[in-house]
């Protein structure tokens, strides 16, 4: 798949749209089988079908998480 924008710009654009909205807790890249993909961290309880599966040539993968919290106790 041809990637037509650098990853920092892609993350900026996607997080502008999605971060903090509809249960999206994180947007970042990860290497999967030698390919750079974009991970969307989603709250367990939310299943967002509007999130695209691909953006500017990068595959988007959704991952459920309990919750992202500060780590004091």
């Amino acid at each position: 798949m041809k990637k037509n924008m650098n990853i920092e710009q892609v993350l900026d654009e996607l997080s502008d749209i999605w971060l903090g909205r509809d249960g999206v807790m994180g947007v970042f890249e990860e290497q999967r089988h030698g390919e750079t993909v974009i991970l969307f961290l989603l709250k367990n309880s939310i299943s967002n079908k509007e999130i695209p599966t691909e953006y500017k040539g990068y595959k988007i993968i959704k991952e459920n998480t309990p919750e992202i919290k500060r780590h004091s106790e």
Partner: protein, 301 residues
């Protein structure tokens, strides 16, 4: 006299750090001479004792600063002493007055606590400062410069809050969650050079560890240094962070859990790369890049 003789049964069962200084010095020289071939790392071996046997092999206890590079120390000792088992004992177990990296700390006005990351120098005054998160030392923006900072080991005051980065609500994106406090001489029984840290930029693929007050030493790997995160800060609501270092745990144990906030994160050579602030206590942890902490808090090493 061989090094094995030095720590033989004759001086075992007593703690060698109470023995004449020459013995400790010889051991430290031995460690330093071997570790000198490794990249400069943070470690401090206070003493070693032969405390018995394990599986028919001699069992040694190493008394080290919390956060020492144990792998380097163990490797060095094994190379010189041959076979044996090694058990690590935190220095603060016998040196209660000191505030060590990796201990629980808090702001006196806060009900929350986290981890003391480590020691740095104030860029403006050259004072020695202890570093952790805003939400640990400054009670998530509620702190006031001059607040008492508490060593939770014995609930004594160890110092004073001097600076923190205000945590801002969306749409603002935070770079760091950091705070710094001075440390009373009574809680700093070290030479600064023994606890001095060396920062490097975090990189994708880097193997890292932290030594948190809640979950101890755990290893992980950096998968991103440009993460965009929305984290739950309870009374402040969800806060956004950018340029976040994202870490996956190695193995099934989480890299960090509640109480580990404020831990410094090191690469496998002992260089400082980040300041932990959150995660999901399961598959993923988040940290501020150390260069952002340096630039935003006004510290040096």
């Amino acid at each position: 006299m061989s090094y094995y003789d030095l720590i033989s049964e004759n001086i075992a069962r007593q703690h060698i750090w109470t023995k004449p200084k020459t013995a400790v010095e010889e051991l430290n020289e031995m460690i330093a001479s071997i570790a000198g071939t490794l990249p400069r790392t943070r470690y401090k071996l206070h003493g070693i004792a032969h405390v018995g046997t394990y599986n028919y092999k001699p069992l040694f206890e190493l008394y080290c600063n919390h956060g020492s590079d144990l792998d380097a120390i163990r490797y060095a000792l094994k190379s010189h002493l041959g076979y044996g088992h090694y058990r690590y004992v935190h220095a603060h177990a016998f040196h209660s007055q000191g505030l060590y990296a990796g201990q629980f700390v808090a702001n006196a006005r806060s009900k929350y606590m986290g981890t003391m990351g480590g020691y740095v120098l104030d860029s403006y005054t050259n004072n020695i400062l202890a570093i952790s998160n805003n939400h640990v030392l400054a009670d998530s923006n509620n702190g006031v410069v001059g607040d008492a900072l508490i060593d939770k080991k014995d609930n004594t005051r160890f110092g004073t809050l001097v600076r923190y980065n205000e945590l801002l609500k969306p749409p603002y994106r935070n770079l760091v969650d950091a705070a710094a406090g001075t440390v009373f001489t009574s809680h700093f029984p070290f030479n600064y050079n023994d606890v001095k840290l060396f920062p490097v930029l975090p990189k994708v693929g880097m193997r890292v560890y932290k030594d948190g007050a809640a979950s101890g030493k755990t290893w992980g790997r950096i998968i991103s240094v440009s993460g965009k995160i929305s984290a739950n800060y309870d009374e402040l609501g969800h806060l956004n962070f950018t340029e976040t270092v994202v870490i996956r745990p190695e193995g099934s144990k989480p890299f960090s859990i509640k109480g580990d906030s404020g831990s410094f994160i090191f690469n496998e050579h002992g260089y400082l790369v980040g300041l932990l602030f959150g995660g999901d206590s399961k598959n993923i942890s988040f940290a501020n890049s150390i260069n952002n902490v340096i630039n935003n808090v006004g510290i040096r090493f």
